[in-house]
Symmetry: C2
Subunit: 216 residues, 2 copies
Amino acid sequence: MIQFSEQERDAIYKVIFSRRDVREGFLPKPIPEDVLTRILEAAHHAGSVGFMQPWNFIVIDNVLIKQRVKSIFLEENKQASQNYDGERKKLYESLKLEGILEAPINVAITCEHKRGGNHVLGRNTIPETDLFSTCCAIQNLWLAARSEGIGAGWVSIIDPEKVKKRLGIPDSVSLVAYLCLGYVKEFAAQPLLETIGWRSRLPLHDVIFRNEWKQS
Amino acid sequence: MIQFSEQERDAIYKVIFSRRDVREGFLPKPIPEDVLTRILEAAHHAGSVGFMQPWNFIVIDNVLIKQRVKSIFLEENKQASQNYDGERKKLYESLKLEGILEAPINVAITCEHKRGGNHVLGRNTIPETDLFSTCCAIQNLWLAARSEGIGAGWVSIIDPEKVKKRLGIPDSVSLVAYLCLGYVKEFAAQPLLETIGWRSRLPLHDVIFRNEWKQS
């Protein structure tokens, strides 16, 4: 049976704790094909409900496509800033929330709901399990990239339908994530929103209950 | 900057490739509290949209609660088997799809949609990003557990509303996953559904496109 030494286990916790959502500081250094393949293979080895492997990875390096996605972001971000007032709004507008153009590679990650037929084993009561499986693949990608010194940033402020249209993604397929990938100058010691005081990390014991909701 | 040696990187790919969805072979050996805490801390260090950390982990070791969840599974699984006919149905019914009672610990993982207020940074256009963040936490948990020699199995054949009621989870909170955790005799070399010929692993190049859907 494959086991893990203490050193190996430490490496796994190290990558989990040092992973960051990266929006700035991407270096122009290209990501070698073999490295990118390793990272995507890691993603492809996530578990999936009924082994349906519903994901696709659209690797984007075309500048024109990136520019179109960036304009979709800009439009959405302008709207998003309207949710805040005063100091909070100023702070929001000062934040760099994506690295679409600077990151050498963007990856759109999709979920094809009909892959594996109408009756996917284990996906009866909870149809969203295919989306959940896709997110597990994304986390694998994120961790593998971090271990390669590559930062990944999830751009959530976009209209997925507009991006789907730009990338030719069919209606029946969901865009789950749009990531920016690239080598970086540095990984921050803590999440940006923690550093700037937007929100604090919750104490671990606050998110753990015993046997029932709100029992500890 | 925190970097990874080749050995550390290998350990990260090793855990990604050797992680399995475990439904049988759980050992009664208890999971020490410090190990469980490490695993949940790994989960808690996933990224989350707007740093909202929407997750909770309900650690279940009460046999009565496990039995109730098991009966919810049995009910659903009976219905699920009706989706298949003939040999496929026989094969389906022969599969062990959960280890609720055998696993010393079950963990229900939830997502509280209102955590962080009405306007969560980065969650404008895609409200489901809080669920996606929770799934990233689950993948962290799964990998950390694997590195500790602990198997995890995601029970997807349950009615989440019934389980929520049993666990006292409020209507406004989603149950994202119900996991069984325990030390195991062994981890299978490949996913069960691959071994029994239910479905094959897709070739990696089939799930990667370039710049547009279905372009490679």
